[in-house]
Symmetry: C2
Subunit: 424 residues, 2 copies
């Protein structure tokens, strides 16, 4: 059962927006065991769209189209879909009534564009839109189904989950399973070597590797006669992989390093503060993307020596003697943040993100970091390759992983219950 | 002259990575006047790849393929390209020698995978890789050209600019021009209404609108008998648009709000500090993505009342009387940051990013912000819709725009030349 994705809109061809819909759909469909064989993007061009839709329907069991259902005249999808599938557009009274209800609830009125959006191919089944106003629809051609959804990601995603997946599930071959392990701290070749022979030890399991920034993901994939068997197979192989990779594995699936660290802090009842320099706020930002006020107290970004001394109490002697990019300053920044914010742990980073700022003995990419915790202060350093953004991200990863290891090394005490502020 | 883009790799179909190559190529090709009519992604599947390549070459003047040139056996592009274009693979001695030189320079040796990458279709012209080791190549079929490049974005981009563009330029129809104006502060409908009649006043000019987060971009596009004429047409229309939109326009082209604000600060010789709460480091991060140590002194993220008082000197009376999310606290945070960091200007944000933290009189999305400058302190507020990330981004935009307006309202004095620290 093959699936083709069709993304409609000239803005995709001209690179104005990323085709995030196709990426998301590809991920979703793969995860339920369906086989996406091609993704195509075409513009708002009647002839090209019609020919493409015709070919995709001839070659695939499912076609999932997004975009071109809007209110303006360059939105051609419904018209072309009707033409290709041998039917015609007609006003769908139910669809219009539903749109009217939604618009009126939002204090808006039905305009000509909305009426256009309620013109749907005769014989199509409506796919309700739980987020926006315009419906999607599905048309059948013999055994094949063509789904048409709006291009607005939030509307498309809800419609896909609520109305497309149930119609495709009978065809999904749930005979596979996958676990993705996230690792940090070693390159792809070392990770791959550690897993040498794992596929042979677990017949039916395939490994895949993906490099995402400073991380290496290990995909453990398996296929069997049914999903329960595939799952058992993959879980055994993933256990094997975990024990071979040890502490390189920081999490799996939807985990990210900040989420894993936040979980470790919460389970210990530890509050955190952050003292940044070359990362410029990136680390604080990573923690505060999701609610954090139950463990995150605050952060400083100190670009000048004066600010490092004033806010964090870094001694002027240390700054003079070792320079602001040094292990000594990183340690004093972390200890100072712990004091200033009154947090249980604090992390600090100081480095040269580049492109300028290097000195004869301190190259671009040099980063010192520290973690101050109830039992002491850990310092570490590295020279990271890459451009400014890459050095900043690598530094952020390095200090987060250091904190993860500090948490793992310290026995969990009973969580304290500190009252922290709002702004979470 | 039509162009088709072909992205090769199963990871694209399964949604593991975004197709950033196609987006980037679409943007580049459009900007030089070439017409991208379709973008297709296929997996590492010999039959599908061959059929797709054959069809795209039959229908288009140019095909630009990326990916599948790697060292492993699932990288099939060169082999399939040779087959479709009626030739065969052979070891290219020059290509291998070039690869050997590069690898040895990096302290690496030539392995079997590299030898595979030096097997190129007989008759192909090599496209040198100035970033990585594996070359690309181009094959001709009558008047048509098929380009094959690596999928690694940095390698592909350099190869495209250095070797593909020069070969396509004779076909690029440079009869169009576009200016993109960036606006902030009004919705799409207000921006569009302000420009009513502009197309009629400038025949040959087309307007387009794009919403990117809290911003509305206005694309002013024109076509004429040659590019110089198109440019004149578009520049006149853009001037008209700028005068209608007034201070809603903050920049154009590659400008972003942080870059525009940084430019305004530099031209005034003003240093900046940032006091964040609900934005959690996002604003500092925006400024420090690019080198900033010539104007950026530092930032604080203060989640607790205690930290607001200790680091920024916000008075406990104000916190008690007005709550931490209030105009009074925002003003004291900005003034405190200006004092603490000794900067010329400071901005501050305090709000409720959600999803929790709302009170009966303070909803999720409520944000107060302030800009403290040599002439006083400006405060402002709004309730932003959306989820946590959207509220944080909207708040960041709002305060950056406030600072932009403060800069514009203050006469430029002679730039001071303060010595700021490293870490830039």
């Amino acid at each position: 059962m093959t699936v083709a994705l069709l993304s409609i809109g000239t803005e995709l061809l001209q690179g104005e927006i990323a085709n995030s819909n196709a990426q998301w759909l590809g991920e979703q469909l793969t995860s339920i065991g369906l086989h996406v064989v091609r993704i195509e993007s075409v513009g708002d061009d009647r002839a090209v769209l019609a020919a493409t839709l015709r070919r995709l329907l001839a070659e695939n069991h499912f076609v999932i189209a997004t975009g071109g259902l809007g209110p303006t005249t360059d939105d051609l999808t419904a018209e072309v879909a009707a033409e290709v599938l041998g039917t015609q557009l007609a006003l769908d009274d139910d669809a219009l009534a539903t749109m009217r209800r939604k618009l009126e609830k939002a204090g808006r009125i039905v305009r000509a564009g909305h009426v256009k959006q309620a013109h749907l191919p005769i014989g199509a089944e409506i796919l309700p839109n739980s987020v926006g106003s315009a419906p999607g629809f599905v048309l059948a051609q013999e055994e094949r189904l063509a789904f048409f959804m709006p291009g607005v990601p939030t509307e498309m995603r809800a419609m896909f989950e609520q109305h497309v997946v149930p119609r495709m599930m009978p065809s999904a071959k749930n005979d596979s399973f996958r676990i993705v392990l996230h690792t940090y701290g070693a390159g792809e070749s070392i990770v791959a070597e550690s897993l040498d022979g794992l596929e042979a030890a677990h017949p039916g399991v395939l490994l895949g590797f993906r490099i995402t920034g400073p991380e290496v993901d290990v995909k453990v994939m398996g296929r069997a006669s049914n999903q329960a068997d595939a799952r058992r197979l993959v879980e055994a192989a993933a256990d094997d992989a975990r024990s071979r990779l040890g502490s390189l594995v920081y999490g799996e699936g939807a985990d990210s390093l900040p989420l894993v660290v936040a979980r470790a802090l919460r389970s210990r009842g530890w509050s955190l503060s952050v003292a940044e320099s070359c990362t410029g706020g990136l680390i604080a930002r990573e923690f505060t993307r999701t609610p954090a006020s139950d463990y995150f107290v605050g952060a400083t970004v100190t670009y000048t020596n004066a600010a490092k001394s004033k806010l964090l109490g870094v001694s002027e002697d240390t700054l003079r003697g070792h320079g602001s990019v040094s292990a000594e300053v990183a340690a004093e920044m972390a200890e100072g943040a712990r004091r200033t914010f009154g947090s249980d742990v604090a992390l600090a980073v100081t480095g040269i993100a580049g492109p300028t700022g290097a000195t004869p003995d301190k190259p671009v990419g040099l980063v010192h970091w520290a973690v101050a915790h109830p039992g002491g202060t850990v310092v570490n350093m590295r020279v990271f390759p890459g451009n400014r953004i890459q050095v900043q991200q690598a530094a952020s990863h390095a200090v987060l992983d250091e904190l993860r290891r500090v948490c793992a090394a310290v026995r969990v005490s009973r969580p304290s219950n500190r009252g922290l502020g709002p702004n979470g």
